[in-house]
């Protein structure tokens, strides 16, 4: 291996696809290089061409792609340089490289392992292809690798099936599979995007450690500048197939030059924002909701609490069906004694990782899921409504008052309906106005979300993710709701678009006097939106407080873990892996005796720390003791 060589040199790479609407150039003259043993991050929005570049490196581009340029791979072991683009598609040369000298881990851990083979089987298959190791050697090497990626019992893990592992564990298995042959280059395509923040931090730490230990180069593809700041040595920023800015990580973060990179950085919400400070979206949307509804007059008389949730429980039975009918059920508590109030005009943030029960709570409020117990009262000044008992006309009325914005902008809009039909459907269902007045309302809605009225006859597939999400918001607003439940409305969107949607939601709230329940796994996003924040874990609210208190003075170890796990796009604030490990994240046993229920008959209950700050803890523990944790 010569000391002064690049592991991978991409020179003047151009990639185009033939599509229904003609040829589309997705990568234009891209240059980038990866040094041996270093991490190069490729940053960009969705559609910027970053994943396509990684596919071209592995030689797995779709058939419709045409590629120009050079991709030179120099193997540090023998110093041989090959141009990957010259290799025969799926021929023996490229197959010898794949998996052995370069490997890839994917975004979605749930689907990238075969459900029919054991984890060990899939990992040792790579060895079987590329090495002459015997069966027992393969097994021992695989177990060693599994131990390296953090499985505490590799022998057992070897014989487990993917469905027995959680998302984070599957991603570890994927990493083990990619690294089993000690490749010179690892391509990580959004390796942590589908994971929860605390798991993301763990995986990032693992990747960094392994990368150092194995002296392996990595091409990290991500849209998250926070991840980049924690991982990369060199950064390449790509936009619309063209490289906008490139340089060592120091230069990129301390001295960003290009307006695109500056825009991206300004669009990320962070914890140091002053109250009222506004994110700068790359593409701002003007809000004009004036024409939407008349001024609300009855608001002054309405009570302070709009929604009151008490002691909500919901458990799901996991049915173990035998050959003959149902057998015993294991019950999982998805929501466990959840109580909170949403005050009129405020935004209550609900934070938690996947599986914490936050979406179930929102669906109970929407009457899409029936809880086992508890009560939900809705009161907008026109009399109290028992949400869980409402039927018939009362339920229909409730539907106009609580509406929902969904997470997935693709599946939440009917692909067979035009925007006009989508927006006027709620009005039709509730028999509001005639045809002409409905069209009037739809136009006002389009104006409110800053979309051109000429788009009314277009179908959802012709809009970008952010535009679709705006249409989803407009649909939720059509009936003039009081409460808008936003279930992860920005987690499927790029950072730049995320800021746009958050600002839009903020503006709409101010102009229309809406109340929000804002659900997200991203504490920074919730911090930007919410007045008060509730932290959920394993079906329970473990801490609820006004936003400043939660951020400055978190008490519950889980809240602390969440706060520590958010990666910042700031080189001076690297992820604190030690705190993260100590707090144990969502593992209740690591929370310490004050916060974990254990088997004792002393149940956990919310302890009041003052200023509306409640923490779930043992009843007999003094509030001062809690803080000293």
């Amino acid at each position: 291996m010569t000391s002064g060589s690049d592991l991978l040199r991409i020179e003047n790479l151009g990639i185009s696809f033939s599509m229904l609407g003609g040829r589309m150039h997705v990568v234009k003259g891209a240059n980038l290089r990866i040094l041996p043993g270093k991490v190069t991050a490729l940053v960009g929005e969705s559609g910027s061409g970053k994943s396509v570049i990684s596919q071209s490196v592995m030689g797995i581009l779709p058939n419709t792609a045409a590629v120009t340029g050079k991709i030179l791979f120099t193997d540090p072991v023998d110093g041989r340089t090959t141009d990957i683009l010259q290799l025969e598609r799926d021929g023996p040369d490229i197959r010898a490289l794949r998996g052995s000298r370069m490997a890839k881990i994917f975004q979605e851990p749930m689907t990238s392992l075969s459900p029919l083979h054991t984890v060990g089987n899939q990992i040792s298959e790579v060895l079987a292809i590329h090495t002459k190791a015997t069966k027992s050697e393969r097994r021992s090497q695989t177990e060693e690798m599994l131990g390296l990626v953090g499985f505490s019992n590799p022998k057992r893990t070897y014989d487990m099936y993917p469905f027995e592992l959680s998302g984070g564990m599957r991603q570890r298995a994927m990493i083990a599979m990619a690294l089993i042959c000690r490749p010179a280059l690892l391509i990580a395509d959004e390796p942590t995007t589908a994971l929860d923040v605390t798991i993301q931090a763990q995986i990032l730490e693992l990747l960094r450690n392994l990368q150092h230990k194995l002296n392996m180069a990595m091409l990290l593809i991500t849209h998250d500048l926070g991840v980049v700041a924690n991982m990369a040595d060199e950064v390449v920023v790509i936009y619309h197939g063209e490289i906008m800015e490139a340089g060592p990580v120091d230069a990129i973060f301390r001295n960003p030059q290009h307006p695109y990179l500056k825009g991206l950085m300004a669009a990320i919400p962070h914890f140091d924002m002053k109250p009222g400070e506004r994110l700068k979206a790359l593409r701002e949307v003007p809000v004009n909701s004036g024409a939407l509804w008349g001024k609300r007059t009855h608001e002054e008389t309405a009570p302070e609490v709009l929604v009151s949730v008490r002691n909500l429980t919901k458990s799901y039975g996991i049915r173990k069906a035998g050959l003959f009918g149902k057998q015993d059920k294991t019950r999982i508590r998805a929501v466990d004694g959840v109580s909170f109030d949403i005050r009129r005009g405020e935004c209550l943030g609900l934070v938690g990782e996947s599986g914490s029960g936050k979406t179930t709570v929102s669906k109970i409020l929407m009457r899409a899921v029936t809880p086992d117990g508890g009560s939900v009262t809705f009161d907008d000044g026109k009399g109290k409504i028992d949400v869980l008992a409402a039927q018939g006309a009362k339920l229909l009325e409730l539907r106009t008052k609580i509406q929902m914005v969904f997470q997935d902008p693709v599946s939440s809009l009917s692909p067979r309906m035009t925007v006009q039909n989508i927006l006027s459907e709620p009005l039709e269902i509730h028999g509001r106005g005639d045809r002409a007045s409905r069209l009037e309302t739809v136009r006002a809605l389009m104006q409110a979300i800053g979309l051109d009225q000429r788009y009314l006859n277009r179908y959802p597939h012709s809009f970008s993710g952010g535009q679709r999400q705006r249409i989803g918001i407009a649909r939720a607003l059509a009936l003039g709701p009081r409460l808008l439940i936003c279930d992860e409305p920005v987690s499927a969107l790029d950072v730049s678009v995320q800021a746009q949607i958050l600002n839009l939601l903020k503006d709409l709230q101010k102009e229309l006097g809406l109340t929000y329940l804002f659900i997200s796994h991203n504490l920074a996003v919730v911090d930007y939106m919410a007045d008060r924040i509730a932290v959920m874990c394993a079906g329970r609210i473990v801490e609820i407080a006004p936003r400043e208190i939660i951020l400055r003075d978190p008490v519950h170890p889980y809240t602390k873990a969440l706060l520590a796990a958010v990666p910042f796009p700031d080189l001076d604030r690297p992820l604190d892996f030690i705190t993260l490990k100590a707090s144990g994240a969502s593992d209740e046993r690591a929370w310490g005796p004050k916060f974990s229920g254990g088997d004792s008959d002393d149940p956990l209950s919310p302890a009041d720390l003052g200023n509306g700050h409640l923490v779930l803890a043992r009843r007999n523990v003094d509030t001062r003791e809690l803080r000293s944790w």
Partner: protein
Amino acid sequence: MTAQLPLPGAPLQHYVSSAPFDPLSIEAMTDAQAKVHLASQLRLMWWKFRRHRLALASGIFLLALYGMIIIAEFVAPYNLHTRNVDFIHAPPQRVRLFHDGKLIGPYVYGREMALDMDSLKRVYTDNKSDVQPLRFFCRGDDYRLWGQFATNVHLVCPAKGGQLFLLGTDRLGRDVLSRIIYGARISLTIGLIGITISFVLGIIIGGLAGYHGGWFDLLVQRVIEVLQSLPSLPLWMALAAIMPVTWSPIIIYFGITLILGMLDWTGLARAVRSKILALREEDYVLAAQLMGAKSGRIIGRHLVPGFMSHLIATATISIPGMILGETALSFLGLGLRPPITSWGILLTEARSVSVIAFYPWLLFPMIPVILVILAFNFLGDGLRDAADPYR
């Protein structure tokens, strides 16, 4: 304008692109993309279908066939029951263009018949001096077009006093080509009627099973399994035996389509059910529920349009089964009976080996059966590929 890479191994310089930057350019569309994006679903499907050459050709072929059966009387040179007693079991005639080195347009030779006293087979020989030019848009057998207009205009007829048996004649001296053309009427429409019945049954039963689930779903599933496990031939025979011999051929025809349709809905019902199960999980369905939409509206406006294109493709692929079913039933003598004429009925003529050995042209009705079934399969293939234009 692009970044210059440093020499291999050298430190990376901070590079900033100097190209003009427009944050909206990623949302901007080229004209071609805009055209795609503004198009409705039907239009997208058509664009995608158009690229499937074989499917397009099959579609045109089938359209032409269906156009032909509307005016079968006009296209066929003879009437369905016209008998030429002098030309029993005549082999196909060849259309020629040149006579004695001169172009005289399409014509056939007249024929002379002799009886082979060994095999008692009629032997036809061309009479090279008897040139019978074809006539076009000519007057031939009388018929009533659509049962209304009495006329005798045909697309092509034999010369006055001559014959034109392009695919030979059968044992009564009837023109096989004309009978195939007439037979297309029944054979091609029986598939459509049968498919309509199975379509309606499949959507209703499968839709209800998928949307409501529960015991109804369970029941439907089991019924489908039982129906699909029945051996089809004995079942056809049993059902055909139910139909009284005294019924008029037309009623029998409807009875047969009904039977075919009632047996065929199972596959479609399964497809509908699984599609509904998948689509029910989409957020937009939940959104509609949360707006307060009733289940009828949800099925009709959100679910069915979502898989209609798939259904059409599925239906297209199952039409050939119907046509084959009719052909098989009629061939076995269980389905239609003369005087109704279908391709299956025509093939009954070729039931014995000796007939096929002597008069192989009686197998000609097989060719349209094969062509139509291939065409439907190609068409269905193309439709299925085009059915989901958003993918």
